[in-house]
C-alpha cells in the first residue's frame, strides 16, 4: 500500500481490520473524484484475498490479482450511464457460491451512485447479509445520492482530497514541471489526481493565464472584445466546463484578496498582480454578480441551451457587472 499517495489513516484502519479479523462485509468508500479510492479498494481486496493476509505479492492469489484474473474478485462498473439491475442479478448467484480460492469473495462496485433505483434495491438484501466471507466495496463520489438504506448497511470510509502541497510535490516529480507550475496545477485540480493528470493539463497550464487576461479585459463600453472572447470560447466546446471553473476560481481569488486572505490560499498565484489590481477596481457585490453570471451559464448549459448564446450572455453580464 506504500505506493498510494495520502490516505494514510484510511489505509491504517483497513489494514487493522484485516489483521484483527474484523473486516465488515460491506464498505462504502466516499470522497471526491480522482483521489485514489479505487486504488485503495483494489489493494484492500488484494490484501484481503492474499494467502498470508498482507498482500505479499508472491502468493497465487496476489499474482492473480496483479494479472486481473482472480476468480473471486468481481468489479461492477456502469454499463453506459448506469449500473443496471441485470448486472446486480448476474452478480448475486456468483456471490452465493463458495469462494474459489477459499479466502472469500470480493465485489467492487465503482461509481455506486450510478446504480439505478431498481439495481440499488436489488442489492439491499445481499448487502445486508451476504454469504460468509464476502466483501462488498461500494465506491462513490456522491454518497448522498445513494439510497439511505444502502448507506445504512455499509461501514463508511471517508477519503479526503489530497492537500495541495502533497499533490504539488508528486506532480512535480511525475510531470517534470517547475515547482510554481506544479503548485498552480495542484490548486486548480482541487486535490484530484485525475484532474491534474487528465486531459485538461494543457488547459490549466498554458491557456489559463491567457483566458483570464482576456476575461478581466472585458469592459462594458466595448462589446467587440466580449463577442470575440465568446467566439474563442465557443471553439473550446469540449472543455467549456473546466473553463467556467477557471473563471469561478479567478473571481473567487478576487473575493479572497478583497477580504484580506493570505496569498497561499489563492489558486491563480502566478497572476497575483492582475488579481490585486482587479480586486481594487471591483466591489464585492460586483464580483458576486460575476460569479452568479457564471453559475447561471452553467445551469443553462446543463439544460442544453445554445452554447454560443449562453456564452455571449454570460460575458456580457460579466462585463457589465
Amino acid at each position: 500500500m506504500d505506493s498510494i499517495v495520502g490516505h494514510q489513516q484510511q489505509i491504517r484502519i483497513l489494514n487493522a481490520a484485516i489483521e484483527h479479523n474484523r473486516v465488515a462485509h460491506a464498505y462504502l468508500f466516499d470522497g471526491p473524484d480522482g483521489i485514489g479510492k479505487k486504488l485503495v479498494a483494489q489493494i484492500f481486496a488484494r490484501n484481503f484475498l492474499c494467502e498470508s493476509a498482507n498482500g505479499c505479492g508472491l502468493c497465487a492469489s496476489c499474482s492473480q490479482m496483479a494479472a486481473h484474473t482472480h476468480p473471486d474478485f468481481f468489479t461492477l462498473e456502469p454499463d453506459g450511464t448506469a449500473i443496471k439491475i441485470d448486472q446486480i442479478r448476474a452478480l448475486q448467484p456468483q456471490l452465493v457460491l463458495r469462494s474459489f480460492a477459499g479466502r472469500g469473495k470480493v465485489c467492487l462496485i465503482d461509481s455506486a451512485e450510478l446504480m439505478t433505483h431498481e439495481a440499488a434495491n436489488a442489492l439491499l438484501k445481499t448487502l445486508e447479509e451476504p454469504t460468509a466471507g464476502t466483501l462488498i466495496i461500494l465506491i462513490s463520489s456522491r454518497p448522498d445520492s445513494l439510497l439511505s438504506t444502502i448507506r445504512s448497511r455499509c461501514q463508511r470510509v471517508r477519503f479526503n482530497r489530497l492537500p495541495s502541497r502533497e499533490l504539488a510535490r508528486h506532480l512535480e516529480k511525475a510531470l517534470t514541471i517547475s515547482a510554481a507550475e506544479a503548485k498552480v496545477l495542484a490548486a486548480v485540480a482541487d486535490g484530484s489526481f485525475e484532474k491534474a493528470l487528465g486531459q485538461h493539463q494543457d488547459l490549466y497550464l498554458k491557456k489559463r493565464a491567457g483566458l483570464i487576461q482576456s476575461l478581466s479585459a472585458l469592459s462594458p463600453t466595448s462589446s467587440i472584445q466580449t463577442f470575440e472572447l465568446a467566439q474563442a470560447l465557443k471553439a473550446e466546446k469540449d472543455t467549456i466546463d473546466e473553463i467556467l471553473n477557471l473563471f469561478d476560481v479567478f473571481f473567487r481569488d478576487l473575493l479572497l484578496v478583497q477580504h484580506g486572505q493570505a496569498e497561499d490560499q489563492l489558486i491563480n498565484q502566478d497572476l497575483l498582480p492582475l488579481i490585486q489590481q482587479q480586486s481594487r477596481q471591483l466591489s464585492t457585490p460586483q464580483v458576486m454578480d460575476k460569479l452568479e453570471a457564471v453559475a447561471r451559464a452553467r445551469r443553462y448549459l446543463s439544460r442544453n441551451v445554445n452554447l454560443h448564446l449562453t456564452l455571449d450572455h454570460m460575458l456580457m453580464q460579466i462585463a457589465h457587472a
Binding site: 473486516v23 472469500g104 448497511r153 455499509c154 461501514q155 476560481v249 479572497l256 484580506g260 458576486m288
Partner: protein, 574 residues
C-alpha cells in the same frame, strides 16, 4: 468463522430486544397470547429500526417447537434455522431482486403445500415496495384468503409505493425512529458485551449520528472500533464520524452574525484543511441556525434543542441582538446552499461565496414594518388632499379594512383636458364614511373615467370613449351612446374591460349599457366633439385677439393687407 458486523451480530432475537418498538412488539405478543394472529402483516418504517428483525422474531414465535409463544426458545431446530436463514418453512424473499410476476406465481404454487416441520409456512418478503405492479396484483387473491397454514409478512421502507389493495389486506405496523437515549442504552449494552471502553459522550455522538436508526448507529460504532480498537477516546469519535467540531460551527455562526467576511474565509480554509466535507459542515450549520430560530421563538427550548449547556449559552448570546427574521433568512439561504453543494464541482468555492454573501447582505426589513410605513404614508397623503389646492394628485386609494365601497377619490388626471369644473377635493373617508359617491359624479367624472382608462394604457378603449357621448351616469348605471360608425368596434370584450376599469375607477360595481347612437338625435356632445368645439372657439378668440393687437393693426394699415390665417406659436402660451 469470518467476522460479523455488530448490526448482524446483535440483531434482536426476542421481542424484548426490539428497542424503541414497544408498540409493535406488545401488539404482536398480545395477538399470539389471545390466539388472534392475522394472516398478513406489513412492517414499515425508516431504515435500520427493526422491521426485518421483528419479522424473523415473529416467525420464530409462531414456529417454535416449544409451542406458539411470545418468547421463542432460540435453541430448537426451527428457531436455529430461522436465525441462520435456512428454514424450509420460512421463506425469506428479496422482493427487490425477485420482483416479477413469475416469482409470485412460483410462490403461489409453493404456499399450497403444508409446512414440512413447523406449524405455519411463513413468507417474509423484504423490500416489498419493489414488486412490479403485476406481481402485486398476482398476489391479491392469495393474500386475501391464504390457506390456514400460511402467514405473510412484508417489510418495506416505502409503504407509499404499495397498492392500496395490498395495504387493505394487511395489518400494518409502523416502526418508529428510535430515540437517541434508547440507542445509546443499547450501544452501552453492546459495548459492555464486546468489552469496549467508551465514554457516554462518545456513545451519544454515535447515537446522534445514527439519526434514529439502530443499524446506522451500529455501523458507525463498528467504524469507530475499527479505527480505535477496544479503547475509544472521545476526540477521535467526532473526527471519524466526519463531524465538524461545535466550536468551529459556533465561530462561523458568530462571524455571520457579526458580519465578518475575512474571518469566515479563514474558517472555511481551516475546515478544508481538516478535510471535512462542506456538505456536512453546511448541514450542521443549518442545525445550529435552527437552534437560534427556536431560541427566538421559545425561551426554554428544553428537549427541542440537543446541545450542551455551554453551547446553549453561546447560542443565546448570538440570538440576542438580531431579529427572528434575519435568522430565518440565514436558514433559508443555508438550506439552498446545502442543496447547491450536492451538485457543485468546487464545493469550497460555493461555501465561501455563500458565507461572504450572508455576511454582506443588507439587513432586511420585515413585511409588517413595511406595511406600517406604507399606511403612515397613505394617511399623510390623504391628509394633504384636505388642505392643498384642488389640483393635488391623489391616486385612487383602495384601503384595506373597509369592507364597504370606499368613496371614489376624485383625480386631476383630467387636467390636460379642456377646462372643466375642477374636481371637488375629497374628504378623507374616515371622516365621512357615509358619503354618497353619487354627489361628486358630475360630468367631470366621465372625463375623469376616460382619462383614467387612457392612463391605464388602454388607448383603444379610451379613444372609443372619446367618441361616445354620455347619456346617464347614475351609479351603478352608466349609459353611453356610441356613434353608429364606431359601434361595431365596441364589442363585448371591450365592454367587459370597460366595466372592470369603471368599477375600479368608481370603486363600485358598474353596469354599462351601450346603445347605438343615430345621427340627428339629440345627444350630449361627446368629449371629442366638445373638444373640437372648444378648439374652434379658441381659434376664433385667437383671431380676434390677434386682429386687435396694435402691432397687427398698424401692420395692416401700413401694408394694406388682409389677415389670411392665425396660427398659435405655442399652444400653451395662449
Amino acid at each position: 468463522m469470518s467476522y460479523l458486523v455488530l448490526a448482524r451480530k446483535w440483531r434482536p432475537q426476542l421481542f424484548d430486544d426490539l428497542v424503541g418498538q414497544e408498540h409493535v412488539s406488545q401488539t404482536l405478543k398480545n395477538a399470539i397470547t389471545t390466539d388472534r394472529v392475522h394472516h398478513a402483516f406489513l412492517f414499515t418504517g425508516a431504515r435500520g429500526v427493526g422491521k426485518t428483525s421483528a419479522a424473523r422474531i415473529f416467525a420464530k414465535a409462531l414456529n417454535c417447537q416449544q409451542g406458539v409463544t411470545t418468547t421463542p426458545c432460540g435453541t430448537c431446530s426451527s428457531c436455529v434455522e430461522i436465525t441462520s436463514g435456512q428454514g424450509i418453512d420460512v421463506l425469506e424473499i428479496d422482493g427487490a431482486s425477485h420482483n416479477g410476476v413469475d416469482d409470485i406465481r412460483e410462490l403461489r404454487d409453493a404456499v399450497r403445500y403444508l409446512p414440512s416441520q413447523g406449524r405455519y409456512k411463513i413468507i417474509i418478503i423484504d423490500e416489498v415496495h419493489m414488486l412490479s405492479n403485476s406481481a402485486f396484483n398476482a398476489l391479491l387473491k392469495t393474500l386475501e384468503e391464504p390457506p390456514a397454514h400460511v402467514k405473510f409478512i412484508f417489510a418495506t421502507t416505502e409503504p407509499h409505493k404499495i397498492p392500496v389493495t395490498i395495504l387493505s389486506r394487511c395489518q400494518r405496523f409502523d416502526f418508529r425512529k428510535i430515540g437517541i437515549a434508547a440507542v445509546q442504552a443499547r450501544l452501552r449494552y453492546i459495548a459492555g458485551e464486546e468489552e469496549i471502553t467508551i465514554s457516554d459522550i462518545g456513545l451519544a455522538a454515535i447515537a446522534r449520528h445514527g439519526g434514529g436508526s439502530m443499524r446506522d448507529a451500529l455501523s458507525a460504532f463498528d467504524q469507530v472500533i475499527a479505527c480505535c480498537g477496544n479503547e475509544v477516546a472521545d476526540e477521535p469519535v467526532q473526527q471519524i464520524l466526519g463531524q465538524v467540531s461545535s466550536q468551529l460551527l459556533l465561530d462561523t455562526l458568530a462571524a455571520i452574525v457579526e458580519r465578518d467576511p475575512p474571518k469566515l474565509l479563514r474558517l472555511v480554509a481551516q475546515i478544508d484543511d481538516l478535510g471535512h466535507s462542506f456538505r456536512q459542515f453546511c448541514h450542521q450549520l443549518v442545525a445550529l441556525v435552527r437552534g437560534l430560530v427556536i431560541l427566538k421563538v421559545i425561551a426554554q427550548p428544553g428537549e427541542l434543542l440537543d446541545v450542551s449547556e455551554g453551547e446553549l449559552a453561546e447560542l443565546r448570546r448570538l440570538a440576542e441582538p438580531r431579529p427572528l427574521d434575519e435568522f430565518q433568512r440565514i436558514l433559508a439561504f443555508l438550506l439552498k446552499t446545502e442543496a447547491e453543494l450536492a451538485t457543485s464541482s468546487f464545493s469550497r468555492l460555493t461555501m465561501e461565496v455563500a458565507l461572504v454573501k450572508l455576511a454582506t447582505l443588507p439587513t432586511g426589513i420585515d413585511v409588517a414594518t413595511l406595511i406600517q410605513r406604507l399606511e403612515r404614508l397613505e394617511k399623510k397623503l390623504l391628509a394633504r388632499v384636505d388642505y392643498s389646492a384642488p389640483a393635488a394628485v391623489a391616486p385612487p386609494v383602495v384601503s384595506e379594512g373597509h369592507g364597504a365601497a370606499p368613496a371614489a377619490v376624485s383625480t386631476s388626471h383630467g387636467a390636460d383636458l379642456p377646462p372643466e369644473p375642477p374636481p371637488l377635493p375629497e374628504e378623507p373617508e374616515e371622516k365621512k364614511p357615509d358619503a354618497q359617491p353619487a354627489e361628486e359624479q358630475s360630468a367631470g367624472s366621465w372625463a375623469g373615467l376616460v382619462a383614467f382608462v387612457r392612463n391605464r394604457q388602454r388607448p383603444r378603449i379610451s379613444s372609443l370613449l372619446e367618441q361616445a357621448s354620455l347619456l346617464t351616469l347614475e351609479l351603478p348605471l352608466l349609459r353611453i351612446a356610441m356613434p353608429a360608425k364606431f359601434f361595431g368596434l365596441a364589442d363585448s370584450e371591450m365592454q367587459q374591460n370597460l366595466q372592470g376599469l369603471a368599477a375600479e375607477y368608481f370603486s363600485v360595481p358598474v353596469t354599462i349599457e351601450m346603445i347605438k347612437g343615430a345621427h340627428g338625435e339629440a345627444q350630449p356632445p361627446s368629449l371629442h366633439e366638445e373638444r373640437e368645439r372648444q378648439e374652434t372657439d379658441r381659434q376664433r378668440k385667437l383671431r380676434e385677439n390677434a386682429l386687435e393687437h396694435p402691432l397687427v393693426k398698424s401692420a395692416l394699415e401700413i401694408f394694406g393687407g388682409t389677415v389670411e390665417k392665425v396660427t398659435p406659436i405655442d399652444k400653451g402660451f395662449v
